[in-house]
């Protein structure tokens, strides 16, 4: 970094300064203010707000959000890995790999309002699938599936979670070399033994990292949850409530405290993910 300030690197400084100022003003400054306010509720240093942000309805919110994000991350992660492995093993329709690759890049960016609408038309009370299944005697509600409930939201989130996992896993899965499997087979290892001793240990860091990313992705999703169930007890919806409602005096630090916890949770997940990714790189960069 110091070399930036040397005479011949004036250009570098000239280019870095606007970018750094921009990030500092619009990202770092508001974030630091929130974190500062979270630990100084009412103007004095204290953990009062931080504690209240994890009690009562807000505690429920965190538990619900973590359960929802965790469930959708694990299911999405497993399906995404299986999809990547299936695509790798099926080499025959040559268009399959590239089509799925492009499709995943697109679908992982979808989400938000239109996606919620699509699932309301599918598994909502007036949804076409709800009605079709009703005709054959299956009531989705009896299985706890409605577009506004826990499993409904999980099903909706999977729409962008599965493609994201596929994108994250494909490089690692491609890194599994065919020669390793052949070598294991020649030495008499069964397919199960090959997976236990070679496949799973190599894929595990990438898979865990991917699932953490999916967790973060689902935890911060707002639009879909808002359209499906705006009164739900999920952290993003509670932040909206605190931000828009006429909050009672003394409560304004609660929103800051919740955001502080969210940032801590996301930061931990992403740091873990980065560590796991480094392990993956060892295998895929060769």
């Amino acid at each position: 970094m110091r070399s930036l300030f040397r005479r011949e690197n004036r250009l570098g400084l000239f280019v870095v300064a606007p970018f750094a100022a921009f990030v500092a003003l619009f990202l770092i400054y508001p974030t630091l203010v929130v974190l500062y306010k979270a630990v100084t509720p009412g103007g004095t240093l204290g953990t009062d707000a931080l504690q209240r942000a994890l009690s009562g309805t807000y505690r429920t919110g965190f538990i619900n959000s973590i359960a929802l994000s965790g469930t959708s991350a694990i299911i999405g992660g497993i399906v995404g890995i299986l999809l990547a492995l299936t695509i790798k093993s099926l080499q025959r329709p040559r268009w399959l790999h590239s089509t799925l690759d492009s499709w995943s890049a697109v679908a992982s960016q979808l989400g938000g309002v239109p996606l919620a609408f699509a699932f309301i038309a599918t598994i909502g009370t007036q949804g076409i699938l709800t009605k079709l299944l009703m005709n054959v005697g299956i009531d989705l509600k009896e299985y706890g599936v409605s577009a506004t409930g826990f499993w409904g939201i999980v099903i909706v989130y999977l729409y962008f979670q599965i493609p994201l996992m596929f994108l994250v896993m494909m490089p690692a899965v491609s890194g599994l070399k065919e020669t390793w499997r052949e070598a294991a087979a020649i030495m008499g290892a069964s397919p199960a033994r090959y997976w236990r001793a070679v496949g799973i240990p190599i894929l595990a860091p990438a898979a865990l990292g991917g699932i953490l990313l999916l967790f973060v992705n689902a935890f911060t999703a707002y639009a879909t949850a808002y359209v499906l169930n705006s009164g739900g007890a999920l952290v993003p919806l509670q932040i909206r409530f605190l931000l828009q409602g006429n909050v009672i005096t003394g409560e304004e630090d609660l929103g800051n405290a919740i955001v502080a916890w969210v940032i801590a949770l996301l930061l931990t997940s992403l740091l873990l993910m980065t560590l796991l990714q480094r392990r993956t790189l060892k295998w895929t960069s060769s």
Binding site: S3, L4, L11, G12, P18, F19, F22, V23, F26, L27, P30, T31, V33, V34, L83, T86, K88, L90, Q91, R94, H97, S98, D101, S102, A105, V106, S108, Q109, L110, G111, G112, V113, P114, L115, F117, A118, F119, A121, T122, I128, L129, K131, L158, Y159, L164, L167, V168, S174, L213, T220, Y222, P236, I239, L243, Q244, V259, V262, L270, T274, S286
Partner: protein, 297 residues
């Protein structure tokens, strides 16, 4: 090993050791192959059915409760979509969103193109900082930053948040990770450093190098970054909604409340448009061999 080379290695032609045609036919009914295809078809159904359900709801004017097999072909019309597309408030919101896209792209390219070039050709020591920076938007997502913005800018510079274009810097911020990744991938693909040194040793000025050597070569990655930014901005709901700004996604939710059919038709239309343009961007990138991560990681 990149994904490209894996696809290229797939057998199919020029593979003398490949199985004879009869063998292929037999392999097609192997149980494991059957399971794979069954799995793929199930996943495909999961992705296709909601889109079809949405299209039916949007374009068939028959309530689901009254839908019977005889009525499958009745009541189809584009009137809902047409009404939504000609709604003055939707048009206004769409105009706002398009302007937000344009401004966010310009701001991003102005800030990041010079930075990406300097990092690649002159100051590689900046790279770790930029890589760390690309994780920041995941740590501070819209739903978290909006609280900070409300706590700071709303109190100190209220005129700033009064305009809908106050969203531009924040949208640019969330688009920065994949913009930087796309630019960086583009620079590495053309070996920018070698080009820079070659041009320099032949006495080219800095301006000549940037405008006649590097920038023309970065067109593909700039287009890719712009496409991804556009998709991000056209889909962003949380930040705009919580700051009470009217953009296309927020207006879509309002519109759907008064006209569900038209609202869904509009949502499907916007989603297809986004998906198509994004798909074209991704495909053209893959064809050029640029391994751009659309996730921005």
């Amino acid at each position: 090993m990149s994904m490209e080379s894996v696809t290229a290695l797939a057998p199919g032609h020029g593979d003398p050791a490949g199985p004879p045609p009869i063998d292929r036919g037999r392999r097609g009914v192997r149980p494991s192959s059957f399971i794979r295809w069954a799995f793929l078809i199930m996943v495909a159904l999961y992705f296709v059915v909601p889109m079809l359900a949405m299209a039916r709801f949007a374009f068939q004017n028959v309530p689901t409760a009254l839908l019977t097999p005889e009525k499958i072909f009745t009541g189809w019309s584009m009137s809902g979509l047409w009404a939504a597309l000609t709604d003055p408030q939707i048009l206004n919101a769409a105009k706002t969103s398009v302007l937000l896209v344009v401004f966010a792209i310009i701001l991003n390219l102005v800030l990041l193109v010079p930075l990406a070039i300097v990092t690649e050709v002159r100051s590689p020591q900046l790279r770790p900082f930029l890589t760390a920076f690309t994780l920041l938007p995941w740590v501070i997502p819209p739903i978290a930053l909006v609280v900070g913005v409300a706590a700071t800018f709303r109190a100190t510079v209220p005129w700033f948040l009064a305009s809908v274009f106050s969203l531009v810097p924040f949208y640019a911020l969330w688009a920065m990770p994949f913009t930087y990744r796309a630019l960086d991938a583009g620079l590495q693909a053309i070996s920018a450093r070698t080009l820079y040194e070659a041009a320099r040793s032949m006495g080219a000025s800095l301006g000549t190098i940037i405008f006649r050597v590097l920038l023309p070569n970065m067109r593909a990655s700039m287009i890719a970054a712009s496409g991804l930014t556009a998709a991000m901005v056209l889909g962003e709901f949380a930040f705009a909604s919580l700051l009470l700004k009217t953009t296309l996604p927020t207006q879509m939710v309002t519109y759907e409340r008064s006209d569900p059919r038209g609202g869904l038709a509009l949502a499907l239309f916007v989603m297809l448009l986004t998906a198509l343009s994004l798909g074209l961007v991704v495909r053209s990138l893959r064809r050029r061999g640029l391994n751009v991560q659309t996730t921005g990681l």
